[in-house]
């Protein structure tokens, strides 16, 4: 570790030494990889695309030691996967190869195959984004994107939005509690709950709008709209081979998807 007391050495909280080989990659490399994985998972039809992506995701997750943290992300797709499996297996348009007849239900092999492929696609996509989110701190990503030319407005919009979500969640629960205390029914019939939307949304949005005014003043007072670029305090490490990886992954994904769509990719 860095000795912060030695003069001339940047303290650890500024340098933030990376904690593993995958974490240490440049955020943009991980971003391009996540997009490429998502494109291949969705764009290359059949079994190959999703399975290859899942293999890559598992490999990178293991290398980054975030395997355990992936579990909640995997659990989050269960409702969707259950729906995909049920609807497609039992109700696949035009499928006739029935597995078994159970009363009025007639699951088909074609439907099951389509359902499993869709499940793999969804899992591959959700997990590739999850690996990216787990290995990349938001401020690192934004700092790197800013170094690459994303304007400070874009950086502010993305950063502030992510930072604001927890506060907004807190505010939503405060508003829900206050309205319940005043007698709003949030558990009753469907119609009562629909009527509860405005008392929940209105204070939240109007409160947020008045905050916009204060934030605008604060930003203007800090030269937000000044011309010129900001100096990056902490440039994140990048390397020639990572640049090659980004180009190969990005272009490779586009070529693979295009080939698959054009029917030039003879894989199952």
């Amino acid at each position: 570790m860095i000795d912060a007391h030695r003069p001339g050495v940047v303290p650890g909280f500024v340098l933030r030494p990376p904690t593993g080989s995958y974490h240490a990659l440049n955020p943009s490399t991980k971003l391009v990889l996540a997009f490429a994985e998502a494109a291949v998972a969705f764009g290359v039809r059949g079994w190959t695309g999703p399975l290859v992506v899942i293999a890559i995701v598992i490999a990178t997750a293991t290398a980054a030691r975030v395997g355990r943290s992936l579990v909640p992300f995997a659990l989050a797709v269960i409702p969707l996967v259950a729906s995909i499996l049920l609807v497609n297996t039992f109700l696949f348009p035009g499928a006739t190869d029935v597995i078994a007849r159970i009363g009025p239900l007639a699951p088909t092999w074609t439907g099951l195959e389509a359902a499993l492929q869709a499940t793999l696609r969804v899992a591959a996509f959700a997990l590739s984004v999850a690996v990216f989110a787990l290995t990349t701190p938001t401020d690192d990503l934004l700092a790197d994107l800013e170094r690459r030319g994303l304007g400070r407005r874009g950086v502010f919009v993305i950063g502030a939005a992510i930072g604001m979500i927890p506060r907004m969640v807190e505010r939503a629960s405060e508003i829900t509690d206050s309205q319940r205390a005043r007698g709003l029914d949030t558990e009753g019939s469907r119609w009562r709950r629909i009527r509860g939307v405005v008392p929940l949304a209105a204070p939240m949005i109007i409160g947020a709008l008045s905050e916009v005014e204060e934030r605008t003043m604060a930003l203007e007072a800090r030269a937000f709209s000044a011309p010129g670029r900001r100096t990056i305090l902490r440039p994140l490490p990048d390397s020639a081979w990572q640049r090659i990886v980004r180009w190969v992954a990005g272009l490779g994904a586009i070529i693979l998807v295009a080939a698959s769509v054009a029917g030039l990719l003879p894989v199952p």
Binding site: A38, P72, F73, A76, V77, P79, L80, V81, S83, I84, L86, V87, N88, F90, L91, F92, P93, G94, A115, A118, R121, V122, F125, A126, V129, A130, F132, A133, R153, V157, G159, A160, A161, I162, M164, I165, M168, V169, A172, T186, R190, R193, I194, G196, V197, V198, L200, A201, A202, M204, I205, I206, A208, L209, S210, E211, E213, T216, L219, E220
Partner: protein, 267 residues
């Protein structure tokens, strides 16, 4: 271009994105409603700041929702395209002055209402008359009834609003919401069909299943579900935005790029 992205709009956008995500999660999980309500922020920015800002807010909302630490995950990301289109349309409605309050009486109150209701019923009849849903071979008896029901409920809501508030804007807002919903359904159906096998994991999958039971193919079943859910969702969202804009002081509204189109009283 630059006019749409003043510092004030730049400050509003993250707020709107957070509103989209948090309200979407709250409505779907706390209030447990079968609608999405995750585009209030998008429509708000579109109306206040213009089409580009609205589209960008929608796209970023879904991408950040997918990535957000804590509540991220799921499958919302690919629907960024839909959210972008919703923001773009909201911006156009804003620039056309749809969301401006129009107190009126007599003909100038009733004419827009009749036109709006007529267009809503016409759109419903186009869906109703679509061969994909009323071909005798692929007939789901209650689906067409449900579409008509939606159109009638929306129309009654418009008329009730106009009568109670004496404000012709209600008619235009409902119409804008219904059109946005239909466009959103058309944009999301291919995403849902080709990316997720036609379902989204929500309560609306029941409709998809029923349409498929009736014989619709994957795309048409998703489209049919969208035609059912999206107009309702977007009409509610548009009215929520309209109510909010009406209760924010004109002084505050006028500072946004589209402000004068929302506050001017001349019809």
């Amino acid at each position: 271009m630059n006019g749409q992205f003043s510092t004030r709009v730049i400050t509003l956008m993250p707020v709107a994105i957070a509103i989209n995500i948090v309200l979407g999660v709250t409505v779907q999980q706390v209030l447990k409603l079968p609608i999405y309500l995750d585009s209030i922020g998008t429509i708000l920015v579109g109306v206040l700041a213009g089409p580009l800002a609205g589209a960008l807010t929608g796209i970023l909302s879904n991408l950040i929702w997918q990535y957000a630490p804590g509540i991220g995950g799921g499958t919302i990301g690919p629907f960024a395209v839909t959210a972008g289109v919703i923001g773009l349309l909201a911006g156009l409605w804003g620039q056309l002055g749809v969301y401006r309050s129009r107190p009126a009486s007599g003909t100038s109150l009733w004419l827009p209402t009749v036109i709006a209701v007529a267009i809503i019923l016409f759109l419903a009849s186009r869906i109703y008359g679509n061969p994909a849903y009323n071909d005798p071979a692929y007939f789901v008896s209650w689906y067409s009834t449900a579409i008509v029901l939606v159109a009638v409920v929306v129309s009654v809501a418009v008329v009730a609003w106009v009568v109670v508030k004496r404000d012709a804007a209600g008619a235009w807002v409902a119409l804008a919401g219904a059109v946005t919903g239909i466009v959103a359904a058309i944009v999301s159906a291919p995403i849902s069909a080709y990316v997720f096998g036609g379902v989204t994991g929500g309560g609306t999958d029941v409709i998809v299943a029923a349409l498929r039971q009736g014989g619709s193919d994957v795309l048409n079943a998703s489209l049919g579900q969208g035609f059912f859910s999206d107009p309702i969702d977007k009409v509610i969202t548009s009215f929520v935005v309209f109510i909010i804009i009406a209760s924010v002081s004109p002084r505050l509204l006028a500072r946004f790029p589209n402000g004068e189109r929302l506050t001017a009283t001349a019809a």
